[in-house]
Symmetry: C2
Subunit: 341 residues, 2 copies
């Protein structure tokens, strides 16, 4: 089990209180999550310029339609039920709503299979769950996820559910017995513990280890110190927000690295490393050259916080409106088509 790192313990013993698990993200007091440290702990490699192609990187919303490989999307409604105070019916309903948002991003229905665990667990998928479960001890998941003996056993049952889609044999209707395919999993870095477990177990099951591309967290409006919270509607801009709401949220809540007055901003410029609007533009502005220009001007004090915020409101409003329109086109029949085996 040498490749399974002990996240919870590492956090407890390390110099900071950083804890990153799928259910808890607590960064160091200043500057949010220390990604350098995570990269080290989790044994990741950075994706740097050398490892990219010469083509411009895919923009976040256009990457969806860009895959020429079969794409499988797991909706973990069982995880929602096990960790939150929700009924199974409500968890399943939310999964279906999630599916609509995903479909609205423009996935090719011919090459995309979206499933919810409550719908799909069974058959070969359940067999792979048990293959994983037989090879992982309670001690290992305690070390990996920080579970305690007081936790309910649903938590022990879940990591194998998250692991099973890494194996093509879980989807015979998609891969037709071609079980030696390597799976590529794009996810946020907090999901890494699941897949360290999976990579540890895969060779013992006779399968290839899955590969991962792990992203940083999308920052909350208030800054990098953690994830956005569903309990605080002002911690994030929602895809369902109308333009005026987006404007209010960005103006009022987006943590600024700019100075407190126009004069000071002109004189000293902004701290772009902590500025949330700069971070949002980094994710969402299609034009890389424009982004670098804005960042430079804002840092130099040639651009004011209000101007930056207006640009962000414009970019986000356009994306939100486009998504709202696309989502309004998604019918129940389309959901069924993506979710049918």
């Amino acid at each position: 089990m040498s490749t399974v790192l002990n996240v919870a313990a590492a956090a407890a013993e390390g110099e900071t209180d950083q804890v990153v698990t799928p259910w808890e993200v607590t960064g160091a007091a200043q500057g949010g999550v220390n990604y350098d440290k995570l990269v080290d702990q989790f044994g990741c490699q950075r994706i740097d310029t050398a490892s990219r192609t010469s083509r411009p990187d895919h923009h976040i919303t256009s990457s969806a339609a860009g895959s020429s490989l079969p794409t499988v999307i797991q909706l973990t409604d069982d995880e929602k039920f096990l960790w939150k105070d929700l009924s199974i019916a409500e968890s399943k309903r939310l999964a279906r709503e999630n599916a609509k948002d995903i479909i609205a991003c423009g996935f090719d229905v011919e090459r995309t299979f979206i499933f919810s665990d409550f719908q799909y667990v069974g058959g070969p998928f359940y067999e792979n769950m048990m293959q994983v479960a037989k090879r992982v001890t309670f001690n290992t998941i305690r070390g990996t996820f920080g579970f305690t003996p007081e936790d309910h056993i649903g938590k022990c049952c879940f990591p194998p559910v998250q692991a099973a889609p890494s194996f093509a044999s879980s989807f015979p209707h998609l891969f037709g017995g071609n079980d030696q395919l390597r799976c590529l999993i794009p996810c946020a870095i907090d999901q890494d513990p699941y897949f360290r477990l999976t990579r540890d177990v895969a060779p013992k099951m006779g399968y290839l280890k899955p590969s991962l591309i792990e992203s940083k967290f999308f920052p909350a409006l208030q800054g990098e110190c953690g994830k956005m919270s569903a309990n605080d509607p002002n911690s994030a801009v929602y895809l369902t927000d109308k333009s005026d709401i987006i404007k209010e949220k960005i103006r009022k809540y987006a943590f600024s690295g700019g100075q407190s007055t126009t004069e000071l901003q002109r004189k000293y410029g902004a701290n772009v490393d902590v500025d949330v609007c700069i971070k949002y533009l980094n994710f969402f502005l299609e034009d890389d050259a424009e982004f670098e220009h804005i960042k430079k001007e804002y840092k130099a004090g040639n651009m004011l916080t209000g101007e930056l915020k207006d640009r962000v409101v414009g970019v986000l409003s356009k994306i939100a409106l486009a998504h709202q329109n696309a989502r309004a086109q998604v019918t129940e029949e389309m959901v069924d088509a993506y979710m049918s085996g």
Copy 2:
């Protein structure tokens, strides 16, 4: 969790080393399993004369066809895979062979649903598994089954699989949404820990607790000190054994309560409380009056061990032959019919 008794701990703290779990049965040194103690620990009630009807009790092999209620039979091939050194394919194959033996006993195909976990887990059944899992802690199953943190998590995943068939909602195709039915589970007493858990959880899920009828263990040929072992073919008479094998096994291995010589037997009679042939006749002889007569005569020394053994060989050979003939009639299509949802 007050109704969940701690089997492993009770055994460790009690006066004897009696351990009774679904995977381990270790009786006290003398006389095998102490059922009085188990009845006490598990909170069971004896089925005495007062709790029976005036009709003669069903014989073991005729009880199968006698049920007028829908019967659901769970084949726990996942449990076999998780606890034994078997592949999933082999566990599934064995489950199908089990199904053939069960079908040969004469169940009504219209009222019987036989399923294997690897085949059926999913949908509403998986939902009930998660409903159970969310309400049971690792500490509870550690106390109930003796699991340790070094055990693989498949063991934690399994009790909810065993619990789910207690709820009619796991089988919508059989009970059509009539979810407030009480389930009656006939089983050997070592399965009790699963269903104590289930009874504890059922009301929290809004369902009725299942009722249980628990049997004693069928004794090994060598006597009552534990279960029969699949590793020792001479510890049991198999339904596949031919007459001559049965004769040899009973003559050579059936533990006798009779005296060592004819003279001593005539003089002192037999100890019928430890005699395995008497126990087997108690299970298998249809005629209760004849059984009481044999027991009395053997105890009094009017019947010799050889005579008793011949009677047992006759009874068992007849049952085995009938089963072998019935089983030879069971086709793959019949198995499919019983196992189709």
